[in-house]
């Protein structure tokens, strides 16, 4: 008895000119699991995220979230359905404080943001959610700092935090440990492990230690196609996966 998938991707294709970034990807994400997408550079991982979140329209195929079609929706509409993402290249509000970065994300679902004459501090819920999120990403004591002045590692934490503060049902993380030192990677891994289990995670990651300790399930992409899928141990033993990684190196 498996529950219906939270995210069901069917035969998703996206071409850029002659290049097929996605060539018929089908993928199901079970609610409350942590699902990793791995694959060598150019496998189509980020394009997959871009299509799911509406940044890039698919050439063919579709994406269902909670049984409803989300392909064709604009990015903000996808986000409001409960899918939030972080970016591979840090994508924050650099001149705003950590608190304001998180508060803006937390306030995105409320009608309060249309208030022209209201006071920002009267809307308590976004502040509370921002503070909770700061706690979860380990930036509780950095709330007043300007985002642009944070260390690289802290900015990566905030990158995840901004996505998390929208309280998504499905959180897409695009290489959260990209460019991090081993210590920073460890801290990030612990932080991700500590995220509430209710949040379903779909994560692109290159660091196999991170994937091994985090993912319940792993999908391997190669040239825009699903090469194999299973538990980390299963995927790890698949000779084709080795070949793909070593072959591309």
């Amino acid at each position: 008895m498996t529950p219906p998938p939270l995210l069901a991707i069917t035969a998703l294709t996206r071409t850029f000119g002659a290049l097929s970034a996605l060539a018929g990807v089908s993928l199901s994400v079970t609610p409350k699991t942590r699902h990793a997408v791995i694959g060598p550079n150019g496998a189509g991982k980020t394009t997959l995220f871009n299509v799911i979140t509406g940044q890039v329209p698919p050439s063919a195929g579709h994406v269902l979230f909670e049984g409803r079609l989300v392909t064709g929706l604009s990015p903000h509409a996808v986000a409001r359905r409960g899918i939030s993402r972080s970016f591979q290249r840090t994508n924050l509000f650099p001149k705003l404080t950590v608190l304001e970065n998180l508060r803006l994300a937390a306030a995105a679902d409320g009608r309060g943001s249309w208030s022209l004459f209201g006071r920002v501090d009267r809307l308590r819920a976004p502040f509370e959610r921002a503070t909770e999120t700061a706690e979860a990403i380990g930036l509780r004591d950095r709330l007043p700092a300007t985002a642009g002045t944070l260390s690289y590692g802290e900015q990566r934490q905030l990158e995840v935090g901004v996505a998390l503060a929208t309280r998504p049902k499905l959180l897409l993380l695009d290489e959260p440990t990209a460019g991090m030192s081993p210590e920073e990677t460890q801290r990030m891994t612990r932080m991700l492990e500590g995220l509430p289990r209710e949040v379903t995670l779909l994560i692109i990651e290159h660091d196999m230690d991170v994937v091994g300790s985090l993912a319940d399930r792993v999908t391997v992409l190669h040239y825009g196609e699903v090469l194999t899928e299973g538990t980390f141990d299963h995927v790890k033993r698949d000779p084709r996966v080795y070949e793909v990684y070593l072959g591309s190196a």
């Binding site: 979140t53 940044q55 604009s74 990015p75 903000h76 509409a77 986000a79 409001r80 939030s84 993402r85 970016f87 994508n91 924050l92 509000f93 650099p94 001149k95 705003l96 304001e100 508060r103 803006l104 994300a105 306030a107 995105a108 679902d109 309060g112 943001s113 249309w114 208030s115 022209l116 004459f117 209201g118 006071r119 920002v120 809307l123 901004v162 996505a163 503060a165 929208t166």
Partner: protein, 307 residues
Amino acid sequence: MIVRWVAVAALIVGAAVFPAFAGKYPVKLLQEILIWGIFAMSLDLLMGYAGMVSLGHSAFFGVGGYVAALALLKSPGVASGLLLPAAAAALAALVIGYFSIRVSGVYFIMLTLAFSQMFYAVTFQAAWLGAEDGIVGVPRLNALGLDTAKPLAFHLYLVVLIAVGALALFRIVRSPFGRVLRGIHENEARMEAVGYAVDRYKLLAFVIAGTVAGVAGSLYTQFVGSITPDAFLWTTSGEALLMVIIGGTGTLAGSMLGAAAFILLQSLVSSYTERWMLILGLTFILLVLFAPGGVVGALRGRVGIRS
């Protein structure tokens, strides 16, 4: 906080009682500054807060001015002097904004510029709008027991209306909506990604700015007693843009200061030489080179060093 409110109240009262201490010409200058100031402030809402640099803001100034002229010639009521021009400018902003906000950066500048020049071309040709001579002999608003044909009544009407407009803008940039605009200015794509319908927020900002500009245009018509197609000319937008930059983009108060600096300099220099534009241009270049944050930026820097 209290100091700030006392300062604001003092400024408004000071502007209101100014005619008691000054002659006709300084009062006229102050009125001109106030009208251009609120116009520049509305542009700063777009430029400094939402990050939308427009070169077509004159469209709304002109629409407000023309609608006020036509309506006041029919009847001098509040509807003619205020509500109709504001509504017409809002509608124009809704239509122009709907098309313009789809693009950004230079394309947004060019599109807004093109729309405003279209208004210029149409009014310049339209016989029923007086073509190139515009509409002259426009009476001032006379309603609710206030006959603004009297100089003092007009002055008070101007000061009160502009104070209300300015305070509303100050409130808006600090409201949750204003914070969303700043987020869009900082990182539009991320705002969209966390769930904001960015285009709708930008459109509302555009309509608010256009409405305030329309009221400014209406007041200008009532101030001068006439309106010509030149109101729509890109130089009208350009002057407001200069005022915003001189004062300090994204400060609101700076726009009023910028308007004061611009108009005072213009009146001062033009009484000595015909080439006042040259002096103004040089001053502007020096300012941008040495005080890129505008007057307010420079003042803040000074205070920051002291403290």
